[in-house]
């Protein structure tokens, strides 16, 4: 039961990844692509946690934690780049 659920969830998350990929490639504007990157970060967290359950291992947790904590830095920097060009002033 759980196995199937996880597999279905995997499929959905992977689909999500690919949909985000489409946005990353298609744009049309740069914010769209940044958004795609951001979404990919979040999707990755889901993927990692699922993997953790799937493989019955807690070793994937840190990666998820790190993405949650630091992934937004990229988004922040990129957005600020659009706003100010200069991200650290």
């Amino acid at each position: 039961m759980l196995e199937y659920a996880i597999i279905i969830a995997f499929v959905m998350v992977c689909a999500a990844l690919l949909l985000s990929l489409y946005r990353l490639l298609a744009g049309p504007d740069i914010p769209d692509r940044i958004l795609a990157l951001d979404t990919l970060y979040i999707n990755s967290i889901a993927l990692l946690i699922l993997l953790g359950i799937h493989l019955d291992s807690m070793l994937y947790y840190e990666a998820a934690l790190l993405i949650a904590l630091m992934g937004f830095m990229g988004t922040l920097a990129l957005s600020k780049y659009l706003l100010r060009g200069d991200i650290m002033e």
Binding site: F10, C14, L17, L18, L21, L24, L25, G27, I30, R33, I34, A36, L37, L40, Y41, S44, L47, L48, L51, L59, Y60, E62, A63, L65, L66, I67, L69, M70, G71, M73, G74, L76, A77, L78, K80, Y81, L82, L83, R84, G85, D86, I87, M88, E89
Partner: protein, 939 residues
């Protein structure tokens, strides 16, 4: 202390030691240099005295010291008859030249430089003739090329002096190198570079398969040095040297070095057909050509130069005959030529000195202006022409005799005496010209000054030399027979043949040849104008200097072209060469062996998650390349690639890698964005289709090869050393995270290097950014003004909120690293990102005011922590970086581990934080400065 044990090297080395002395003496007064040089020469001569009688007693004096045993190079000197003869020539004529030069040089010429060079040259010559070891001989040989370069280019402001010197250097230097090759081969055939062994091994050498190679190589050295055809052309251009130099180098010494080698190696190399053809052929051709050309030279020194070429050819031809008597004649002529030619050069110098010209078309009728000089010149020139009662006559008769005996009746060999006679005819003609055209033949034309006799001391050397010509010509048995005898004996390495230096040998064929030469020679001279005209009209003028310069220029252009063929100063060019080479190396390495590409390890089955991630990476990386013109977009895509790669690491059970990759990824994006601000936002399209094709081909082949390499390895089994790490991680390293234990313990030294790299990056970037200014773009790529809100408050507030959380997580990751995924690196990067998020949200000024740490010092402390951890182990007499750990049990807290590796990891942490923050913040400050600039512009 027995002088006889080490005087020979001193003879050669004293002039070198004296050279700086002579240069220095120039500071005292004008004559001091000359006297110093003369004194030095005399001292050298003095050192010869203790050994001077030995050759006459049939002894060979050898003094040798070990120098470079692995090469068979000894510091070895040899005094036998041949060397003695040459040493005397070099030193005695040297003395005369020094005396002459003292008065020849004008006040504006640097005396010090001249005599220093001259002494160095003298030393080099002495080295050649005294060397017992052939390598050492080559050393001195090349030194003569170098020092003669300095002497010829002495008047360095004159273009022809510089050109002449360079030509001489190039030709004789090249010959020297060929000779070096020959000598090395010779030494290896014989098994020794020492002359004693080499001269004794003549048969071995002549029978060796490399004999011809050796012979040709050595003859190349000889012919270039002695100006033999076709390498003769440098000598006339070397006449740009001051005349004393010509008198010394181009009569008695340097050009004779080649001849000396013929005499020296005679027993080792001569006696074969090849020797006869090569040596004799070159000598014959050179003799005739030189004599002929000399007649047509209007420049006195030019005449003498070609005459020298001709006489050198004569001597070479004599050696080419390979007979013992010919060797006697050759060596005898060496002496004679040295005396009359040196004196003639000096005369030419006197005339030049007094008339300001050496052009025989201008210089006429000098007899009445300088009768004394005229007499000397006439005697010396007669000797050159081979007039009886003068030394030249004697050796020339011997030469004719050898030419006649060399014929065996066949039509071809009859050419020898015929050609010899033709040479002699021109020799007579140009000698006559030297006398008649200069001292008679009417009045001088267009001279700038009125000539008169030179200073007395300038004539004394000529007097002496001319007396010698006369003396030898009249009483040869007394004056030269003894030295000639020992010299010949040394050259032949056997008892000298019976020879007679009688003035009268009866009425024989050689005498007839002499008469013919005299008669026709006079005839030729007096019909010279017709000949000159014919020569000018019918023979192309070949100026070797122009040809040489053209060749040199051609070489310059060609080398530049070939050089630029590869080195275009272009990075892409260099990079593609590197990549192409790498690709070829892999392919070449692989196909050398008959190995299958793939092994038989069982592959793991495909799972579709990996497939999806892989598809993702493939698409994004290709797109990154395709979309690279839009820089920001390609940057975003690179970020995605990094993210997916780290997911892949997670997938394949490498959490530490994933964590590190993720953190680095974030920092890299920030870093690249900081930089991108100052760069164009867009890369222009490239139009060069050829280059695109090349690049695509190169990148695809690189990709395919790397893929195959990865597959080749992954499909094979292997037995790694890693089991040791897994087994010893806990018991030996005190941690369960094997990767981390490898990093801080098993291979802590790598990690130390790696943090040094990071620290260096920080320092290097700090240094680069110092004083760097770049204009900050005022608008973005679409021409919009930047937002007026530098620090959006919501972002500010929330990142500040996150700051302590991130630090907490950093500590968490740090502490667990030894046992679970994490460690100093990742923790350091998290902490760095925490700090950078503050810079990002609040700006540099605001944040710097709150973070007082100097990142340089943080880095220094980090490195210190890591190194000191290692050093503590050394204090406890364990190797550097030996780690230790222990478990403590505290009340209530419980059992926990303390490991020295943690201190090391702390060092890592500090360096990572320090370097990362230093890099990013310094880069941030760049715009900071630009912003201030921009604001100043506003107000």
């Amino acid at each position: 202390m027995n002088l006889i044990e080490f005087n020979l090297p001193l003879i050669a080395l004293i002039p070198f030691l004296g050279a700086p002395l002579a240069a220095w003496a120039a500071n005292l007064n004008r004559s001091a240099s000359a006297w110093t040089a003369a004194l030095v020469t005399l001292v050298s001569l003095l050192f010869l005295l203790p050994a001077i009688q030995l050759p006459f007693q049939g002894e060979i004096l050898i003094q040798s010291w070990s120098w470079l045993p692995s090469l068979g190079l000894q510091f070895a000197f040899r005094l036998d008859g041949l060397s003695l003869l040459f040493v005397l020539l070099i030193l005695l004529i040297g003395l005369l030249v020094i005396l002459y030069a003292r008065y020849y040089l004008s006040p504006k010429d640097s005396m010090g430089r001249f005599f220093a060079y001259l002494l160095m040259f003298m030393g080099s010559m002495l080295g050649i003739v005294l060397s017992e070891n052939l390598i050492q001989l080559v050393v001195f040989w090349e030194l003569t090329s170098l020092t003669s370069f300095l002497l010829i280019s002495y008047w360095q402001h004159q273009q022809d002096a510089r050109d002449g010197a360079r030509m001489a250097l190039a030709i004789t230097g090249a010959g020297g190198l060929a000779m070096l090759a020959g000598v090395i081969l010779l030494g290896n055939i014989v098994g020794s570079y020492n002359l004693t062994e080499v001269l004794a091994a003549g048969d071995l050498i002549r029978q060796h398969e490399l004999y011809l190679t050796v012979l040709v190589l050595i003859l190349l050295g000889v012919f270039t040095k002695s100006a033999q055809f076709p390498f003769h052309f440098w000598l006339p251009h070397a006449m740009a040297a001051p005349t004393p130099v010509s008198a010394y180098l181009h009569s008695a010494t340097m050009v004779k070095a080649g001849i000396f080698m013929l005499a020296r190696l005679f027993p080792a190399l001569s006696g074969t057909e090849a020797w006869g053809w090569l040596v004799g052929g070159a000598g014959m051709f050179t003799m005739v050509l030189g004599a002929y050309t000399a007649l047509f030279k209007h420049d006195l020194k030019g005449l003498l130069a070609y005459s020298t070429i001709s006489h050198l050819g004569l001597i070479t031809l004599l050696f080419g005959f390979s007979t013992h008597l010919a060797a006697v004649a050759a060596i005898f002529h060496i002496i004679n030529h040295a005396t009359f030619k040196a004196s003639l050069f000096m005369v030419a110098g006197i005339i030049d000195h007094e008339c300001g010209s050496r052009d025989m078309r201008k210089v006429n009728g000098m007899l009445k202006y300088m009768p004394h000089t005229a007499v000397l010149a006439m005697i010396a020139a007669s000797a050159m022409a081979g007039v009886p009662l003068l030394n030249g006559f004697l050796s020339k008769e011997m030469f004719f005799e050898q030419a006649v005996t060399a014929t065996d009746g066949s039509p071809l060999t009859w050419a020898i005496p015929v050609l010899v006679t033709i040479g002699a005819i021109f020799s007579v003609a140009y000698s006559l010209r030297f006398i008649h055209d200069v001292f008679f033949n009417g009045e001088p034309v267009g001279l700038t000054k009125t000539p008169h006799e030179p200073p007395r001391f300038m004539k004394i050397p000529v007097d002496i030399l001319v007396l010698l010509c006369l003396g030898v010509g009249i009483a040869p048995m007394i004056l030269v027979a003894p030295i000639l005898s020992v010299a010949v004996s040394a050259s032949l390495q056997s008892a000298p043949p019976a020879f007679s230096l009688a003035i009268w040998h009866g009425f024989n064929l050689p005498l007839i040849m002499s008469f013919i030469a005299m008669a026709i020679g006079v005839l030729v001279y007096f019909n010279r104008y017709k000949l000159f005209r014919w020569h000018d009209e019918n023979l192309p003028r070949i100026d070797a200097r122009i040809l040489f310069n053209m060749a040199l220029h051609g070489l310059l252009v060609a080398t530049a072209k070939v050089s630029r063929l590869f080195d275009r100063g272009s990075l892409q060019n260099a990079a593609s060469w590197v990549l192409l080479t790498a690709v070829l190396a892999i392919v070449y390495g692989f196909i050398q062996f008959n190995s299958p590409l793939l092994g038989d390890r069982e592959l793991i089955s495909i799972d579709w998650l990996t497939l999806a991630l892989a598809a993702f990476v493939v698409i994004t990386s290709v797109l990154c390349a395709v979309l690279h013109h839009q820089r920001l977009i390609s940057l975003i895509i690179v970020g995605v690639v990094g993210l997916i790669v780290s997911l892949g690491f997670v997938k394949f059970s490498a959490p530490d890698l994933a964590l590190t990759q993720l953190s680095v990824e974030v920092v890299t994006i920030v870093l690249l964005l900081l930089a991108l601000f100052f760069l164009p936002q867009h890369t222009p399209q490239e139009r060069n289709a050829k280059r695109m094709t090349r690049d695509i081909a190169l990148s695809v082949s690189a990709g395919v090869l790397v893929m195959l390499m990865a597959m080749a390895v992954m499909s094979r089994d292997y037995a790694p050393i890693s089991d040791f790490f897994i087994q010893n991680s806990k018991p030996g390293g005190g941690g369960t995270n094997v990767v981390n234990v490898i990093l801080v313990d098993f291979r802590g030294f790598d990690t130390l290097g790696e943090i040094v790299v990071l620290a260096l990056a920080g320092l290097g970037i700090f240094a680069m950014l110092k004083n760097l200014r770049l204009p900050a773009p005022v608008r973005d790529i679409q021409g919009r003004e930047w937002s007026q809100d530098p620090h959006p408050p919501i972002m500010q507030t929330l990142t500040r909120l996150l700051f302590p959380l991130m630090l907490l997580v950093a500590v968490f990751v740090f502490l667990r690293g030894h046992n679970l995924p994490g460690g100093g690196f990742i923790a350091g990067l998290i902490a760095a990102v925490a700090l950078i998020s503050q810079y990002l949200a609040n700006g540099i000024d605001w944040t710097n005011a709150r973070i007082k740490a100097n990142m340089h010092i943080v880095i220094a402390f980090g490195l210190t922590a890591a190194v000191v951890t290692g050093l503590v182990a050394m204090l406890l007499s364990y190797p550097f970086l030996t780690s230790t750990f222990t478990y403590l049990k505290w009340p209530l807290v419980g059992k926990f581990e303390i490991a020295s590796a943690m201190a090391f990891d702390l060092g890592v942490f500090l360096v990572v934080v320090g370097a990362t923050v230093l890099i990013l913040v310094e880069l941030g400050k760049l715009s900071h400065a630009s912003h201030q600039m921009r604001q100043q512009e506003h107000y």
